[in-house]
Symmetry: C2
Subunit: 500 residues, 2 copies
């Protein structure tokens, strides 16, 4: 996938990296909507790809050419489709004159934020936007020459927050692991002298797991997003030797759009105060012309008082070109030059932006965005369900997971939770499946008939599993204790809104 | 001048910073050619500006509005023209809505590389080019947040190699000193905790002067250009605690275009080898689409063999828009998209470019470019001179100075060197005045009648003053000894070609 980030654009084509956690139906929706011509399949995903291709063929839609990528160290011999990657590369002509880009606004990549609805949202990046975002994220994170970068963040997330290209720009080494397991991470850090990695704060839990979590030989810079790092986690990982930078972004902004640029004068503050400052989403990266918090009606900027809320809006070349073939979504995403993030925040006196309320209908589970509407659509299709609503439930490991509230068609017969879960597992990607199903007689609705999700979120918080024990200062501390801090920035609240 | 880098573009105007080492006539040529509307004058340059304005008025050309900038700490009360800077600022309206830039290719600044000839060369930068160059130079130099930057490099040189804007982009502190004197530099470093500075290698001599040159409390990053840092100087300043990065550029490329990006694996090499690698001009900064060495006739790239010479050519958004109102110079500077630097170089196997031969007719003296043709034009106007040629002469402090070869109109009467020098001082900026005038019976000319400057350069090298004693390892070492190195990269040779 790393090579594809260069080969595909250089061939004049558009790269569409597909989330490996999706199920076959979601993959089909993406293949069809993107009208993919060539489909590269890693050997570990041959089964998933094969199922998806069968469904494409069954639907009568054009089936793309397929090239399988075998394991380069220990080839498995598995094949799918007409082509095999290394053989394809060997047939290339190194002397070929590649066409120069004629329009910098041409599309370079396509990233789906949602794939299973009738109108998938495929975010299109331009070469220009990708270049600008790449260089300014390197600057915001302070990546100097010859970094050694560990791929804990999947490359299918906003093209690895642009660090696919960024590592090449800094002459970096790319260290790839199949799974973000503690043992693999620490082994890679020690073996390759890793200097940088990106991850959602959910990975901090992995970094602190068991015996693997030992003091690093030299510091590793971590760029995190998807949620502000909670104080307790921050303290624990920083003590081991990770230096955490917090950024905020979303697929539509080509990854991080704001970075909480650290000021040296904050170094001497107490941990809680440092964590509070670091939990803020920050200031715009240089590739954005502007980031602001505005009153969505008047589009007037809110005062820098840390109190007046408004919508976080972004403007600049690194904002997506738009959603592919989805004029409805495009119309509602932009107001003039401004992209509306849907996130509600404030601006502090020092210009740093902080999110105060969640974007509607997005649940972030282990760094993956889940659209609650998509889960609801599946629930409505269950024969025993008459009404359904899905909200985020705090989760000790995943940050958030979907929690479903359903109403039975037949009150007497009711609805079986296991039955609903089995139905979900069959009809959606695994990571989207609710961890909890609650049966109500009726969903709480306001006078206009709209489901009062605020009430459901309160309920979900009560149902959430307890927070885990965290190792702090060598002894075991219950995170709910140090998490007095968390009532201010409850995980349930923040994990869902600072999405990447 | 720092404030002007923001205020002028934000007002929708174009900033033209004038070299303070120019004389009144050169300033007049710039004011007239640029058609300046508003002329800001620092209190130390009131005399020079006043002379220039009188000459503009005498010529019948429109006289710009004048605003004097007094010393902010200890006002002198000196006034010139209608306006005074602080008063002007006080009259500003902080609530004014500034116009947004409508075309990123609009001019942002104008920088004259030559001002006294009939066709001055005013290099025009675009907003786009300045932005890209700024961000990519911050990356190339590895400037992280909150740098403390000492202005040893004048801001009138390519807008301070873009670090005027760059320091704002990194939240930096700007430390300004009036003159780059050793005592002032070390005082500023100690007082403000300077982390970064830019300078020509000529300033290294200043850094090593007398008692001031003491071990730094913490390292200071130095970006140098205008010439590769010679091994002896490099060793001496790095021992004190300066970390030197070598870059190559020219006004037309918005400052540095190549940077000799250091590879960690070179750290363990012996000094001479490190100096040899660091003396190379390097690889393109990211704002350039391409930098190459090409056969100027066929425009084919030379092989990466470190031997085949060609012309260094640049292509990309940070190359100037062009010379203002000078179509002749524009026609010869570009071939299609490629800007021709006039410098001759090779490409090494690792892709690093190294200059091998000088750009014609440019003498670099203390970091200032002198066009030999401009000096010759003045000499030709001397009543006793019938023929004249000017070449670079190595100089222990300035790197190079102009050396004039003249022929007397009246062989019997001859030409007096002092008389010629006095004439030069009257008709050109002080830094352009030759340090040596040699009287010949006839200039060496080839069959086509062209002056054989190669022969004159050889002669000038013989006439050059001896290289100075350098303090190394606490004891005094004669630089000509360590300068065995220098025969490979003689100062006379390199100072003139790696120009900034």
């Amino acid at each position: 996938m790393y090579e594809m980030h260069f080969a595909v654009p250089m061939a004049g084509a558009v790269l569409n990296t597909i989330n490996t956690r999706l199920d076959a139906k979601a993959v089909v929706a993406i293949l069809r909507h993107s009208e993919a011509k060539l489909f590269f399949v890693d050997y570990q995903y041959v089964r998933l790809a094969s199922d998806a291709l069968q469904l494409v063929a069954d639907s009568g839609a054009p089936v793309p050419l397929v090239a399988v990528i075998d394991d380069i160290d220990t080839p498995t011999g598995v094949r799918l489709g007409e082509l095999e990657y290394e053989g394809l590369v060997a047939r290339g002509d190194p002397a070929v004159e590649l066409p120069l880009l004629t329009d910098e606004w041409d599309a370079v990549t396509l990233n789906y934020t949602s794939g299973t609805t009738s109108a998938p949202k495929g975010v299109v990046y331009s070469h220009r936007g990708a270049f600008l975002s790449t260089t300014s994220l390197l600057l915001s994170w302070g990546v100097s020459t010859e970094p050694v970068y560990l791929w804990t963040l999947p490359m299918f997330h906003c093209n690895g927050w642009t660090f696919t290209w960024g590592m090449a720009a800094r002459g970096g080494v790319n260290v790839c692991i199949r799974d973000a397991r503690a043992a693999d991470i620490y082994c890679a850090i020690a073996r390759h002298g890793v200097t940088h990695l990106c991850c959602a704060p959910v990975v901090f839990n992995i970094l602190l797991e068991g015996d693997a979590a030992t003091k690093l030989a030299s510091p590793v810079s971590v760029l995190t997003g998807g949620a502000p790092p909670p104080a307790a986690l921050l303290e624990s990982v920083e003590r081991i030797g990770f230096r955490v930078t917090h950024a905020y972004g979303l697929t539509e902004a080509t990854g991080p759009a704001l970075a909480c640029e650290w000021r040296n004068q904050w170094d001497s503050l107490p941990l809680q105060e440092r964590a509070r400052l670091k939990a803020r989403q920050g200031v715009r990266v240089l590739s954005l012309a502007d980031a602001d918090v505005k009153n969505a009606d008047s589009m007037a900027s809110v005062p820098r008082d840390g109190k007046t809320v408004g919508e976080i809006v972004l403007r600049g070349s690194s904002v997506m070109k738009g959603y592919l073939n989805n004029s409805e979504a495009n119309d509602s995403a932009f107001r003039g030059e401004w992209f509306l993030t849907g996130d509600v925040g404030v601006v502090h006196a020092d210009g740093y932006i902080e999110i105060k309320d969640r974007s509607k209908d997005v649940i972030i589970s282990g760094g993956e965005n889940i659209c609650s509407k998509e889960v609801e659509e599946v629930l409505f299709r269950h024969p025993a369900v008459s009404d359904a609503a899905v909200v985020a439930m705090p989760h000790p490991h995943w940050g958030e997971t979907p929690c479903a509230f359903v109403v039975a068609k037949d009150k007497a017969a009711g609805v079986c939770e296991d039955d609903v879960l089995a139905f979900c597992r069959k009809h959606m990607s695994r990571f989207m499946v609710p961890k909890k199903v609650v049966v109500y007689d009726a969903l709480p609705r306001n006078a206009l008939g709209k489901v009062e999700k605020v009430k459901l979120r309160d309920e979900a918080r009560k149902l959430a599993p307890p927070l885990p024990a965290l190792k702090t200062k060598g002894k075991t501390t219950n995170a709910t204790t140090v998490g007095g801090r968390r009532s201010e920035h409850p995980v349930a609240h923040v994990m869902a809104i600072s999405r990447l």
